[in-house]
């Protein structure tokens, strides 16, 4: 055939025709076969064309075997039976013979007839009515289950959507909203993971959808979920994860959510200042604030602390059995606040030192105590940790751009004053934590002796920074402050015990999950060493930790900014780390799950003592 190359249509070759003829017992000449082949092609095309008409009138897009048979019947050709099934026919080839055939499996009729599982008849055809559109607008749930927003998606995105929903929701199509699944932590966790993958997908422009994502994340952080009624449910982890997600969203999509920052801070603040809310909500608020960066903590949590402290203290001081659960929650919140505050102090000190560094040449003798808000622009402060800096940068940007006027009214509390105040609440536990921060940040090896002494000189390691000249001042301030403020005796004492027992506990169940550790810790605590030793142990501990962390630290520096490693793995591998300013993205999970139980344990110890 000369016209073989054009291939406008499917063609039946001469050879096929001859094979068919042979099958029917007829020998065909070459030219006869060619003529026949051509005619067969033409007739096939004709039949196809007329069968498409049947398809159109059946108001379908898919041409079926039935349509083709109808076309054949109307042109007085025998219809082809046996291919009416809806499913696709597998088309197999035999390599040797260049033969293609439709696989025709044997059906065991006996088996079919005696089968016990009688197939259900298909459901009855029926008509269902729903009001799709009222007055031409206001789309009530459009027929079916797909929300409106989804319908505007392109084909590819729609497929993506379907994949996601199937992956997350499994078979249940009704779980479209976060609220409806608040009883199921598993689902919520999966949802949060989905949000994370959405956020991390570089090929997806989320646009205004970020807002709705953020709101569902906020929901997970703040709401007193139905699941949190049962103490066995690990809703804390969910909150941690959601908070981590929040910071991640702000970090990667800062441009999209810039308007939201202030709104979120306000809502967190509202939750925090509402004493009626359950402690888990407060916890969420604190974690959320922490996630938004230390500036947010300074701005909201710090001023609120005195008022809030009273409430928390009341909870923690209530030793009644009925209060046990609430108190446990209270410890959780306490721990969260502690971490947030600690970080705040650290970052503050860091920014101080850096701003001082930045302006050292111009004002060599300037007093650093009166810190101004110079660190605002991220460009001025080359960060020791790229990740936290990014978060910081965005936060500061938001403060300036998003709600500038509001922020200006707020006068920053100088670091020493802040430290004093915080120390009045947290006592020694705070000091210990603070001391480690800068040392970690500057990679300076902290000798055990240095650390053991550094309880009263928390920023000691900070002197490793270039600004040695300034540091004594700072140190002096801080040294004086705890004594000056005359913090109440009881918290101080307990804080000492806390730090002691925390060390012991951290050794015992360093890798434990918070929930498991929690109840057991009570039994282990009485066996801990007397309070007098707590100090030294703590110090030694710090030293060990510091050294132990160093390889870890270097390892971190090399990791890419967006690491795919789930935070949880760190929590297991590196039990004792996590006090200090690790990259924002990671600390939430590893941190809290580890040290919060420890704190609770500490308090138990203090009670027993």
């Amino acid at each position: 055939m000369a016209d073989r190359e054009e291939r406008r249509f499917a063609e039946v070759s001469r050879e096929s025709v001859r094979l068919m003829a042979e099958g029917a017992g007829v020998e065909l000449g070459d030219d006869v076969a060619a003529l026949l082949a051509e005619d067969v092609c033409y007739r096939l095309r004709e039949a196809t064309q007329s069968s498409s008409q049947f398809m159109r009138h059946a108001k379908r897009r898919k041409l079926t075997v039935e349509d083709f048979n109808r076309a054949l019947r109307w042109s007085n050709v025998e219809a082809i039976c046996g291919y009416g099934a809806q499913d696709a026919l597998p088309f197999r080839s035999v390599k040797e013979g260049e033969l293609f055939f439709v696989e025709d499996r044997d059906v065991n009729l006996v088996e079919l007839a005696l089968a016990t599982n009688i197939p259900k008849g298909c459901a009855e055809t029926m008509v269902r009515v729903n009001v799709s559109y009222l007055d031409g607008k206001g789309n009530l749930e459009p027929q079916g289950t797909v929300p409106t927003a989804v319908q505007s998606l392109s084909d590819d995105l729609l497929k993506y959507y379907q994949q996601i929903t199937r992956a997350i929701l499994g078979e249940d199509p009704h779980l479209m909203k976060v609220k409806s699944v608040s009883h199921d932590l598993e689902q919520l966790n999966r949802l949060m993971h989905m949000v994370k993958s959405l956020v991390q997908n570089p090929y997806l422009y989320l646009g205004s959808y970020v807002r709705s994502l953020v709101s569902s994340v906020m929901y997970c952080i703040l709401e007193p979920l139905a699941a949190s009624i049962n103490p066995l449910n690990d809703h804390w982890t969910l909150r941690d994860y959601a908070a981590l997600l929040l910071s991640h969203i702000f970090w990667t999509h800062g441009d999209l959510v810039s308007g939201l920052y202030h709104q979120i801070v306000l809502s967190l603040q509202k939750v925090l200042s509402d004493p009626v809310r359950p402690l888990c909500s407060h916890y969420g608020a604190v974690v959320g604030l922490h996630a938004l960066g230390w500036k947010a903590v300074e701005r909201v949590l710090f001023p609120h602390l005195p008022a809030y402290w009273a409430n928390l203290q009341a909870v923690l001081d209530d030793y009644s059995v009925s209060n046990a659960q609430v108190k446990a929650d209270g410890h959780k919140v306490y721990g969260a606040i502690l971490v947030a505050v600690e970080r705040l102090l650290k970052m503050k000190a860091l920014s101080l030192s850096q701003s001082a560094e930045g302006h050292a040449g111009a004002h060599p003798g300037s007093v650093v105590g009166a810190v101004s808000y110079r660190v605002n622009s991220p460009g001025l402060s080359p960060p020791p940790e790229p990740l936290s800096e990014a978060a910081l940068g965005i936060a500061s940007h938001l403060q300036v751009g998003g709600a500038g006027c509001h922020w200006e009214e707020w006068t920053p509390v100088p670091l020493p004053a802040m430290y004093c105040e915080l120390y009045s609440f947290f006592g020694d536990s705070l000091a210990v934590r603070f001391s480690t921060g800068p040392g970690f940040g500057t990679h300076s090896p902290c000798t055990p002796s240095q650390l053991s002494n550094s309880r009263k000189e928390p920023p000691g390691p900070a002197s490793n920074l270039d600004t040695t000249r300034k540091m004594p001042q700072l140190t002096a301030n801080l040294n004086i402050s705890p004594r000056q403020d005359g913090s109440p005796a009881v918290p101080r004492a307990s804080s000492m015990q806390r730090s002691k027992s925390s060390s012991s506990c951290s050794r015992q169940r360093s890798a434990g999950l918070s929930r498991e550790v929690f109840p057991k810790a009570r039994f282990t605590s009485p066996q801990t060493t007397p309070p007098a030793f707590s100090f030294l142990i703590g110090g030694r501990q710090m030293g060990q930790r510091c050294q132990g962390r160093r390889p870890f630290q270097t390892m971190f520096a090399t990791t890419p900014p967006v690491s795919a490693v789930p935070p949880r793995t760190y929590a297991h591998k590196l039990p004792v780390i996590g006090r200090v300013g690790k990259p924002v993205r990671r600390w939430t999970c590893s941190h809290y799950s580890l040290h919060l139980p420890l704190l609770c344990v500490c308090v138990c110890v203090s009670q027993t003592v």
Partner: protein, 750 residues
Amino acid sequence: MAAVQGGMSDADIETDIKTEPSTDGFGNNNANDGRVLSASPGSGSSTGSNKQTAAVTPEDQQTLLAVLQFLKKNKLIESVEILRREAGLPENSLDPKATESAGAGSGGAAGIVDLEGGDVSSLLSRVTGSSSAGAQAPTKAVAEDQPDVRVVLSAYSQQGDPTLYEVYYSDLKKFIETVLDCHRAELSQVFYPLFVHMYLELVYNNHESEAKAFFEKFSGDQECYYEEDLRVLSGLTKKEHMRGNETLLDFRTSKFVLRISRDSYQLLKRHLQERQNNQIWNIIQEHLYIDIFDGMPRSKSQIDAMSGSLAGEAKREANKTKVYYGLLKEPEIELPLDDEDEEAENEEGKPKKKKPKKDSMGSKSKKQDPNAPSQNRIPLPELKDSDKLDKIMYMKEATKRIRLGSDNLPSVCFYTFLNAYQGLTAVDFTDDSSLIAGGFADSTVRVWSVTPKKLRKVKSAADLNLIDKESDDVLERIMDEKTASESKIMYGHSGPVYGISFSPDRNYLLSSSEDGTVRLWSLLTFTCLVAYKGHNYPVWDTQFSPYGYYFVSGGHDRVARLWATDHYQPLRIFSGHLADITCTRFHPNSNYVATGSSDRTIRVWDVLSGNCVRIFTGHKGPIHSLAFSPNGKFLASGATDGRVLLWDIGHGLMVGELKGHTDTIYSLRFSRDGEILASGSMDNTVRLWDVMKAFDDLETDDFTAATGHIHLQDNSQELLLGTYTTKSTPVIHLHFTRRNLLLAAGAFNP
């Protein structure tokens, strides 16, 4: 026609045009049904003109003779006698030849023709172009089943040098490309028909390779909307294939109509005569109908708006007949102010009560619409008491109707057919929206009640005897409570049910099917009453007249039939479409029928005469939905090309184009007061269009009306009032309730 083309100097064309209608009639009638000729002779003559009676009469006689010849050959002596008597032909006009042919056998047929000389052979030779070919044609034709096919095809037997076809064509192409811009668009119309005819000529004369080369070279130049036809054409490479190919026959039996301004036409003619390009000139003369008009040549967009149909544009005369598009006067019905009504009204408050009623009555009692046909032009059934009650209900509902507009869009309710694995193919609602019926591909017809009122059968005859026939609630008593159910299934068809229609009184249901029948079902007994057999091929659509009693059906056999429910044979046969009739609609005044077809034209037929009174061209794909506006003035049509076109029936003009859908439009419906047009499509959307604006914007100056050259603005986006999507349900039916709530229906397609 003579008036229009009076100034034309070319005598060839003049005669050609005159003879054309008779060929048309000959071809069509024979192809369809012997009965057509006597039953509705109008269908043939409708395409042409009856003005030149002097010229037509001998032609008719020739046609008759040809038919007689054919009948005789097939030994249908009785028919010959009857036809001859009816036509008033002398007995000897055929008798001597008949005896001769009987003696000479098949070979004698040629002799007959020769003897006939001026009669039959002249008719045939005109088509074939050479007398020798003409002489052979009838013998072959008689031997074949489809004599006309052969005759038509043999027109291609004239030989030209196959290698020169390309030269001719490209020569013309070059010429047209170099003419002034204003003429180029018009002359470019010639390309497509010329291309097709030249290609077919090559194929017919067995120049396969030349034909292929020709196709390869020039098929790319054709307008994109001919793509579908070109695909069919490209598959056709053998002379044998041409026989029995419907698309091809359509092309052959009809002349491709072009509308060209006089100036452009003169240019073309001069060029062809200068070049001695006889091949092309012959084709133009024989196969094209050039409708010449005086005035400015049309622009490309104007041409594109109107072209696209299988046989070119409509001739202007085809749309000149007066159409009585006005509505019939409603019968005066006293609105009984019964207590129930009074109470209902009282609740709403007294002052409201009178006003709307006065208005509705006032509009009814107005004088007769000047554009309306006389009340009894088509005999309509008497109103029964139940009909009057229904009318009263209708009026009551109408007073509560929501006035729709661009700022007040209707609510949409979607009726989803679930578990319709057997394939939903047709849907209809009753006018009062109480019942919904679905036709399915598994040959069933199902009816659902969409109100709480269940469907009940009438009791059996034995039980009916027991009923007290004097009681007031006898209508209630005859129903069998035991059979009450939400839906009923009706079996009877043996193929997919493609069309479905409720009677206005809700007592009957019509369904048309692939099995070639239209069935009438009773909704009282849920049984089949009649199967109307007439279409021997799939029947794609059927619809009841708005006054009941009559109904129309159309299908694959390319004719639409008008039936009355109490006649088992059709009352009218509307023939003229060149391809399947895909949808049929009654005009609100029941005097006209509109049909849409796969030949991409819409025709409007007069029920009284059976004539085609309007041909609308402009769609680029098969038409799948039609809707008349409630005032009867406008027609909307939707096609596979995803466009809705609006037509002014009175002027025979296209008045709007609504673009937006991306797939076949299967459903169109005007709101009850005609303000809004809803279109439902395969693309899973319902769109609403502000047609009032489209009609208002219309510039109806006399020139446009006279020439039919329309300027369409591209304002679809302004006219689109809303797009409503379903999840995965093609919208195959739309319906406005009496209060203007929009109901849509379709089968969920997961």
